[in-house]
């Protein structure tokens, strides 16, 4: 009875989460004539016309490449700087550690809307408007507090003795970080990286404001710009959404085990 309840609950959660995606998937393969009609719920025939349209009629491949480059680079930057900062906060006991961590959290509470105008001006002044580098900088900056906060928890989960042992066994602080701390916090790093990547991949506001052409435009903005003056191409929007979601699903599946391990990284025991 209890098991049954659990299954029903899980099914409900899955349905709730997956229904919009299923709707998009259905819409993306429906013939154009059936798009704005209900019934039929299921398409009478499956068409790939919308998918062809987004790659033929729009520079969608370029948008995907932009999104991928921006997200990957920003994730690498956030992980690189974030893991160093998190390690220092967790193990080197610098003065003012509590205040620093609190400030990091406070930073991540800042609503993006509040910073969008100054960033627009700054990016313009630095010549970074409508460039991938500009987006990479802004994204990594915004992801950094989250990354530091999360990874500080993972590093704290590694016992102090292991750090001390590494230092006495001949490592500098940096050596101990690279040879002992980083491998042990790797699951946490993966989990953090995935979260940051997803954040960058889905980000819309900055991408919309800081880009003006396909040179740096990302997928979410590209899809939002599909609608023309006279019509909303629901089929193409749906196809674009499905294509944009697929890499995230694949990433999540690929790293699922490591992420789960990351979420319990506190259990690392000497």
């Amino acid at each position: 009875m209890k098991r049954l309840g659990a299954w029903v609950g899980l099914a409900a959660v899955c349905a709730w989460s997956l229904a919009p995606f299923a709707w998009q998937l259905l819409t993306s393969v429906k013939p154009a004539a059936e798009l704005e009609a209900l019934p039929p719920l299921l398409p009478s025939a499956i068409t790939l016309a919308h998918y062809e349209a987004i790659f033929a009629g729009h520079p969608f491949a370029r948008l995907l490449a932009n999104s991928f480059a921006v997200s990957a680079l920003a994730t690498l930057l956030a992980l690189g700087f974030g893991s160093l900062a998190a390690f220092a906060l967790a193990k080197l006991r610098p003065p003012g550690r509590a205040v620093t961590l609190a400030a990091v959290v406070a930073l991540s509470m800042l609503p993006p809307v509040a910073t969008v105008s100054p960033l627009f001006l700054l990016a313009g002044a630095a010549g970074l408007r409508d460039t991938l580098a500009g987006l990479v900088l802004v994204y990594s900056g915004f992801a950094l507090p989250l990354a530091v906060w999360l990874m500080a928890q993972f590093f704290r989960g590694v016992p102090d003795e292991l750090y001390i042992a590494a230092r006495l066994d001949g490592c500098s602080a940096a050596g101990a970080f690279a040879k002992v701390m980083l491998p042990l916090a790797a699951p946490g790093l993966t989990a953090t990286g995935l979260l940051v990547f997803v954040f960058c991949w889905n980000e819309f506001l900055y991408a919309l404001t800081l880009t003006s052409s396909v040179a740096a435009r990302t997928v979410p903005v590209g899809i939002a710009l599909f609608p023309g003056i006279h019509e909303v191409p629901w089929g193409e929007i749906a196809a674009g959404s499905v294509v944009a979601t697929a890499p995230l699903v694949l990433l999540a599946i690929a790293f699922q085990r490591r992420v789960l391990a990351g979420l319990t990284a506190g259990a690392v025991k000497g």
Binding site: P159, E161, L162, I164, A165, A166, R167, L168, D169, G170, C171, S172, G175, K179, V180, P183, L184, V268, K269, G270
Partner: protein, 346 residues
Amino acid sequence: MASIAFERVSKRFGPAVVAAGLSLEIADGEFFVFLGPSGCGKSTLLHMLAGIETPDEGTLRIGGADVVGVPPQRRDIAMVFQSYALYPHLDVFENLAFPLRNRGLGGSALRAEVTRMAATLGLDGLLVKKPGELSGGQRQRVALGRALIRRPVAFLMDEPLSNLDAALRLEIREEIKRVHQSHRITTVYVTHDQEEAMALADRIAVLREGRIVQCDAPEAIHARPADTFVARFVGTPPMNLVPAALFARDAALLARLEGRDRGSVTVGVRPHDLEARTQGNGLEARVVLLEPAGSITWVVAEVGGVRLKARLAADARLTPGGAARLAFRAEAAHLFDATSRRRIER
């Protein structure tokens, strides 16, 4: 190989005093034990030697050189921890090899060293295992090996036996002593377990609130505790402490107290030296309970509101609630000043 010296070292963490003007010399090759109650900051003394903590004041010397400000990796010291602190992502071979790799050793020379160390500590079959697959005893052997393999100038050991069960604790304790006897590497060992300290140490420093209460050979500390704190802390069961006024009729003891106000003296008698009999001379006591311990049976008895522990005399039959006589040789009594708690020599 190196001597170690603390010179007027002070360290505090907020309100907790870890060291208050601590001065101490540890000889080259000595097995030195810091003994103190849990939470008295003993580990921090080791961390200062290791270079993880810096003293607020004073100087630390290793091999004569001032090491304050020298980073841990350049002190050539090895440490063994209560939690083993093996690198969980590396197998036993790599754990043992870790300090050597950091010195640039590799290839067949490295393999030879690791194999030799594994053989010495009986770890041959375990080289490909991860620490997670080892038992507690095996883990601590690997930790010992990792510390020993690069022949450091000094060993620091932070309660290395505390996580092991009773049988293993004795086994690894012997292993540690054997390693010390064969290598004679200066060892600074921290524990709250006085039995461990007695069994291992060349010299013991009993610590309390950042000060050394007494520093001497184990036998000397046991035979002549410097104050009532050491008297209670060293030796099992702990020494009985009784106001001298209770012994109004013990002529031999009174002779030792000659010329002192009896109200100002505390008498200490180890339970081993205090015999509980059915009758005869001695303090009149009421038996509270009996505690068999194999070859000895301990008697907990009450005299004038004071609880004492005594050894049951071979031929005595005592029952809880019944009467007993507690007798001891006057020479076996330790005398302490009741106010300063310091030992009175006479």
